[in-house]
């Protein structure tokens, strides 16, 4: 068992513009890919890379997060030698919620002190990927890096917002800009930062002492000259899922068998909370093509180019095209849906005709009746 890296999934002020999808939940628990939640991807990547202690810095709207993660057993993080630690804000003063993430690192410094791991990997939850961190750690040591940032060369972020970086000829990051700059670079940061634990704690203390409280913007971006910050290039599937557009387009991309296999199964499996759903039932009149379907669905209508989460019911004669339908939603008979994102427990009445567009899919919030 590899105890040399500990993980932090940092949900403090996670940048996202997912509208109704995050009305009642944090970005980390936005359902994704028929049976997962966004956080499953980085969390599984860490576990598959041998990280056996992971802290999740919960911030706001984290009820669904607690429900999803439970004891960590679905990721094998509930053992004597491992652990999942969900750390919500330890404050009695609501104004402190607006403080930057370094403040939370500082608040939880005991957690870092108590863990014997030499390295720490800090990530966000909205990078949908299947990453192996061991090669990143090997490169980190080999290049004598202070910080290694997992990056991806990407020409089209499909509407997702990410930081861009510029490298010198040796893979060192010489410039990094915030999410909406104009830097001419095809390399995006996957917001995964690998460093020695003691460097992190040092950055936390010195930055806070200077009145700065954002890890990346303050502690890292301002020290690109002093610190050797290296990029480690990842070449698997990456979806930057923090806007509605990228949420929708990444789902459509996953209808491709190769993309799906790359994300869900290579190099390791993506784990998620398991549920006791029966297999999906396709009735006599069902017609399902080019779609991803989770268990527990009952399908009597037509489904094309769509993603169905667990327990979705598609009524007789209903047609669902280019849509994402989340857990336990019910589509009435003869309804027609095109380019829709339906959150959990949505009910579409019989005969309704609802069409969104590629740029602006129709969205129905959780439990909405349409």
């Amino acid at each position: 068992m590899n105890h040399s890296i500990m993980g932090v999934i940092n949900l403090i002020h996670e940048p996202e513009e997912m509208e109704r999808l995050t009305a009642v939940r944090c970005a980390a628990t936005v359902p994704f890919g028929a049976r997962y939640r966004l956080i499953d991807f980085v969390l599984s990547g860490m576990v598959n890379s041998g990280v056996s202690k992971v802290a999740v810095f919960a911030h706001t709207k984290y009820r669904s997060l607690m429900d999803h993660l439970e004891s960590g057993r679905h990721w094998d993080l509930h053992h004597r030698q491992s652990g999942l630690f969900v750390l919500p804000p330890a404050t009695g003063d609501i104004r402190e919620l607006s403080r930057g993430d370094l403040y939370y690192f500082y608040q939880n410094r005991d957690y870092f002190d108590r863990t014997s791991s030499e390295y720490v990997i800090i990530s966000r939850s909205h990078m949908v990927c299947n990453v192996d961190l061991q090669p990143a750690l090997a490169a980190h040591k080999e290049r004598g890096a202070d910080i290694t940032v997992v990056c991806k060369r990407m020409t089209d972020t499909m509407g997702g917002a990410a930081r861009k970086v510029r490298l010198d000829g040796n893979g060192r990051i010489v410039a990094m800009q915030d999410h909406y700059g104009r830097m001419d670079s095809e390399i995006v940061s996957m917001e995964m930062y690998l460093m020695r634990k003691d460097l992190l704690l040092e950055l936390v203390e010195t930055s806070l002492a200077q009145g700065e409280d954002h890890l990346v913007r303050h502690a890292i971006m301002s020290r690109l000259r002093q610190l050797n910050v290296q990029a480690h290039m990842y070449d698997g599937y990456l979806g930057i899922v923090n806007t509605v557009e990228s949420y929708f387009r990444n789902h459509m991309k996953l209808l491709n068998a190769e993309a799906q296999h790359e994300l869900f199964s290579r190099p390791g499996p993506i784990f998620t909370k398991l549920k006791d759903e029966p297999p999906s039932r396709y009735l006599d009149n069902a017609r399902v093509v080019n779609s991803l379907v989770a268990d527990g669905c009952v399908i009597e209508g037509t489904v094309e180019d769509s993603v169905l989460f667990r327990g979705v019911k598609i009524g007789k004669g209903a047609v669902v095209r280019n849509s994402i339908v989340m857990q336990n939603s019910v589509i009435g008979e003869q309804a027609y849906l095109e380019r829709c994102i339906l959150d959990k427990d949505v009910r579409i009445a019989s005969g309704r005709d609802i069409r969104g567009t590629e740029g602006a899919p129709f969205m129905a919030a959780k439990r909405k009746v349409v």
Partner: protein, 388 residues
């Protein structure tokens, strides 16, 4: 240990000979069923929903897969501080040891286990049946009739009655006759092999049966008849739901087909009596652009490129392009190549059916079985299990 009102003893050591190649390397209760279950899930889920928190699982034949599957009983809520699931294999004792010889002997050999909970009642069930049943209601009936023994019974078609233990009852359901597999059945109320015993009564009869040299140490053949002759009060508890013994290839296939009937007699989707199982973590079902699926159950991890109708597919099954699968049961991780034809086939776990191969014939009623994980070839090597 805290006293328990009722504990369950689940007989799961059966070889399941009549399932042929499907039970070569696993016990019958571990055979896959209904896409994402194993047969034993039904009895264990019934325990979970009936409020039974202490279950002894008696294993003997090929227990590896079953043991690994059961683990510490978590999927059925049986990972408890007090009680929970205990796997009970045959074992050595100071005066030697022996295999379980018959169902009653298996319980006899574990009397210590039962005594440690000092229960009022012991429920005997087996891991061979597909059904949903509230054992709590059966216990209530047992108390109401003030019986020493209650035997669950179901009416079966007369022509099948000679396959079962047949009961005749008098007033208040009191059992007057019990005949194991009678040639000329006098009734059609069949024993489901589910018993509630007052533990002191059962204990006494198990010891007596053990001393009987001509006994085969079987509940239906020996213990129940002995109790009837011994003046014990036995009552029948009539069950009116779906119940299927899946001990043969035909009945296993039929029970799978029952799940995809237009109105399935056993509802896997009802939320108040979920069947729990060990859920595999697999990606969602990938239904390719060329796929066609109707009247079927499909499970996560499947990749469907061909045509599937009236079939049950377990997790991780791959149906290749231009293949046609009809009225078949495909167990986990089986791979069906391109352009294959399956009619009334049961494909074992991890089996591979090559491109263009044909298993079973259209219009033929016979169920064809392909053994687990074996490469299937054309013609003579094909393992066929005829109707029994």
């Amino acid at each position: 240990m805290a006293r328990k009102e009722m504990i369950a003893m689940l007989l799961a050591g059966g070889e399941g000979k009549r399932l042929g190649v499907l039970t070569t390397d696993l016990a019958k209760p571990a055979v896959h069923f209904g896409g994402k279950y194993r047969i034993i899930d039904f009895a264990l889920s019934n325990c979970a929903h009936s409020g039974i928190d202490t279950v002894g699982v008696l294993t003997q034949y090929q227990p590896l897969v079953l043991n690994r599957y059961l683990g510490i009983g978590s999927p059925w809520g049986l990972d408890r501080q007090d009680g929970g699931m205990s796997i009970l294999p045959p074992h050595m004792k100071p005066k030697g040891g022996a295999w379980y010889e018959g169902t009653a002997n298996a319980i006899y050999q574990n009397m210590d286990f039962i005594d440690s909970y000092d229960p009022e009642y012991v429920l005997i069930i087996s891991g061979d049946h597909i059904y949903k049943m509230d054992y709590g209601q059966m216990l209530a009936a047992h108390k109401r009739t003030e019986a020493d023994v209650t035997v669950a019974g179901i009416e079966v078609p007369w022509k099948e009655a000679s396959r079962f233990g047949i009961m005749r009852t008098g007033e208040e359901g009191r059992i007057t006759d019990f005949e194991e597999k009678p040639k000329l059945p006098s009734n059609n109320l069949a024993s489901m092999g589910i018993y509630i015993f007052a533990w002191p009564v059962l204990r006494q009869f198990l010891i007596r049966d053990e001393g009987n040299r001509v006994s085969s140490h079987d509940f239906g053949k020996d213990v129940i008849p002995a109790m009837l002759n011994g003046g014990v009060k036995l009552c029948a508890y009539a069950f009116h739901g779906y119940w299927k013994d899946v001990g043969t290839i035909d009945s296993l296939w039929e029970a799978n087909m029952d799940l995809i009937a237009e109105r399935p007699p056993l509802d896997l989707f009802s939320r108040d009596w979920r069947i729990y199982s060990v859920n595999p973590n697999r990606p969602p079902q990938l239904i390719a652009p060329q796929a066609k699926i109707s009247s079927s159950l499909v499970t996560e991890g499947c990749v469907i490129e061909g045509e599937v109708s009236r079939s049950v597919l377990s997790s991780g099954v791959h149906i290749g392009l231009d293949s046609i699968v009809v009225e078949s049961v495909v167990m986990p991780n089986a791979k069906i190549g391109r352009g294959a034809r399956l009619y009334r086939a049961i494909i074992g776990e991890g089996a591979a059916v090559g491109d263009g191969e044909q298993i079973g014939r259209e219009g033929d009623e016979t169920i064809t079985v392909v053994a687990s994980g074996e490469r299937n070839n054309w013609g003579p090597e094909l393992k066929e299990v005829k109707n029994l």
